[in-house]
Symmetry: C2
């Protein structure tokens, strides 16, 4: 396997982008990534695109060919492949691109993630299609409802409190305020979070990430090629993917996402590191309880002890292990298929020292992107 | 790169399957493939799934995790990845699976394609989402309309006749009658084809493939592992993918699918063969004119001379180069995301000598799967 580097990153603003179409958003991120890498479109050998809802909301499938075309690459006839696993679509695109370079098939590859949802349909619809439609959706379960069941049980079994969940939201908003691309750039107090309306008890408005428009793009290259383009490559040391039962009712323990546990173990092993070597992480906080579960399933703490990390400030921007320095899905925004790639952009900026006011000191980073309630998980480990 | 073999194939019946859901269809094909390979589910290391319309028609995205789950593989947490490029989705799944084995990342991988469309929505809707929605669909263009433009110009420029198109349909129905999995198992006369209603002049009802329910699955393994399971492996000598402008208006010549030309050249080169070495082919006859274009773009004949092959009977079942022995999309049926994998199933059966009444004598086969009007193409070359 060849060593793989990220040599360029780009990200659109995340949020409700009423004045931009899907094509505008993805091209803006792509141009930024190519400029960052200092390369021309014609040097790209292949493209992988994560997108969840093109068919449903834009009545447009065949999204990868569309993006290659609008990026001006159609004349080069490069293979362009869409991958989809709900809100893990971006992570899948990153992984396929990583494998295409690691295997030696290609030298320079694009991984993109993009979504346009806010003014083209009912955002709740789209998220229900990420869970088991026949066994969960059909009986009225929604994403917030399923995560509420998980949160409730976590509270009962491990003593996690609504205040702990609120602290996750407060932290991520604090970080998001420092991120120019974030959807919400406003700090909130714990009272604001705790006093917000219940969406699905015990989850309140401020426990739920928004559903956003946005796109993110990274340029991957083999180590040898990367050196021609940049003095600050960020390496992908591992990128692992695993699956779990689609419906949470079939899992042995709904408080453990086995897909995350398995993908993380594989990634640590491949990267030859231990959990404690991670300096910064972006995790999938579609709901605040998901960030707590991530702490546990990634092995940062034992199962049941996730809340300790947020209570003790360990995962704050200047804590021992900063998590979601971008603001996470909660404050940076959650542009479904873009999120997995957007997480990679943040880790690259942190490891290069380009993260501006939210810069932390880090040599190794991790990103966790999950689909729905965790039927798909991708864990990626980066180093500078 | 490791040599890759197909060690098992499975295919559901294609057609209007009113009594089977998406999950039933895909599992029936999967069980057949595993039995054919003689392996158990737990030996599978990864899965790639081609599906176009899950989100739109089943309100179910995250299809690959769902299939891994329903196939009983969730407990093994294998990576399961959905790919989509309209009706080239199956070909993409095959290619990703091929790359996963060729690169040495995995030893045994599943490529599946599945679609459920006939009783869950308006089939025309789905196909429009494969073309450029903003520049083609928005102004009223449909798949038949775009292929009609192509056919009209081919007639004007190269003298192709409606009779030539009808002969493609007659041939494919004749082959389909011999295929127990085919949707239409009835021979037709040229008069039936020529007297059928115009859908978009010059294309008539019998020039258009149906839109079907169906699933197909192939099991891929590295050469070394394949030998443990079978004495009749079929090797994938090459699997190439290319893209083109999404809207046909942007192409230099709408009578040439550059994606096909480029993918075919790459595939011939990688397989170290010439066009004349191909003994049997499955090509993407979503419309009869598409089969004529395929003859030309794959290099079987020069541009403009495609109709000669059908007039002279070269591509008949017992001609020099049998094409669409399965009945093709026209008669076997076109289960969108399944088609690219279904084509591979047919070529494997032919090369193994398991094609029953439609058996031809062949050592090397080719499959061409395209998306929409050719913005994506995958060319795969097989040998026994």
């Amino acid at each position: 396997m060849h060593k793989v580097a990220i040599i360029g990153v780009g990200c659109s603003k995340f949020g409700e982008m009423w004045d931009s179409g899907f094509r505008d958003i993805v091209i803006s991120a792509g141009v930024e990534a190519l400029e960052d890498a200092g390369l021309e479109g014609k040097e790209i050998e292949a493209m992988f695109v994560g997108n969840m809802s093109g068919g449903r909301y834009l009545a447009q499938e065949h999204i990868a060919a569309l993006i290659a075309d609008y990026a001006g690459l159609a004349e080069f006839n490069i293979p362009s492949t869409r991958v989809e696993a709900a809100d893990a679509s971006g992570g899948l695109a990153l992984r396929q691109a990583y494998m295409a370079v690691a295997s030696g098939v290609h030298d320079i590859v694009i991984a993109a993630g993009a979504e346009k949802v806010t003014d083209v349909g009912n955002p709740m619809d789209i998220m229900i299609s990420s869970i088991d439609k026949e066994w969960e959706g059909f009986v009225g379960a929604t994403l917030p409802a399923l995560y509420a069941i998980i949160a409730k049980l976590h509270m009962e079994k491990y003593g996690t409190k609504e205040e702990d969940l609120a602290l996750v939201s407060v932290k991520n908003h604090k970080n998001g305020a420092l991120n120019p691309k974030a959807q919400f750039r406003k700090e909130i107090t714990i009272e604001t979070a705790l006093n917000s309306t219940y969406v699905a008890e015990p989850l309140k408005l401020f426990d739920c990430a928004p559903i956003s428009d946005g796109a993110a793009v990274v340029v991957l290259a083999s180590e040898e090629v990367a050196r021609k383009y940049t003095d600050t490559p960020v390496y992908i040391e591992a990128c692992s993917q695993a699956s779990d039962y689609l419906a949470i009712q079939n899992r042995k323990d709904i408080l453990t996402m086995n897909s995350v546990v398995v993908a993380a173990k594989q990634a640590y092993k491949q990267a030859k590191i231990e959990t404690k070597d991670i300096d910064v992480a972006e995790v999938h906080d579609s709901f605040t309880i998901a960030e707590i579960l991530a702490y546990e399933d990634l092995g940062f703490v034992k199962k049941g002890e996730g809340a300790k990390l947020i209570r003790e400030g360990v995962t704050e921007l200047h804590g021992d292990l900063p998590v979601n320095t971008s603001g996470g899905l909660k404050a940076c925004g959650h542009a479904i298929g873009a999120t997995g790639v957007r997480q990679a952009v943040e880790i690259v900026l942190q490891l290069r020292g380009d993260a501006g006011k939210r810069q932390v000191n880090a040599e190794k980073g991790l990103a966790l992107n999950i689909g729905g309630t965790g039927a798909t998980a991708i864990v990626t480990i980066f180093s500078r």
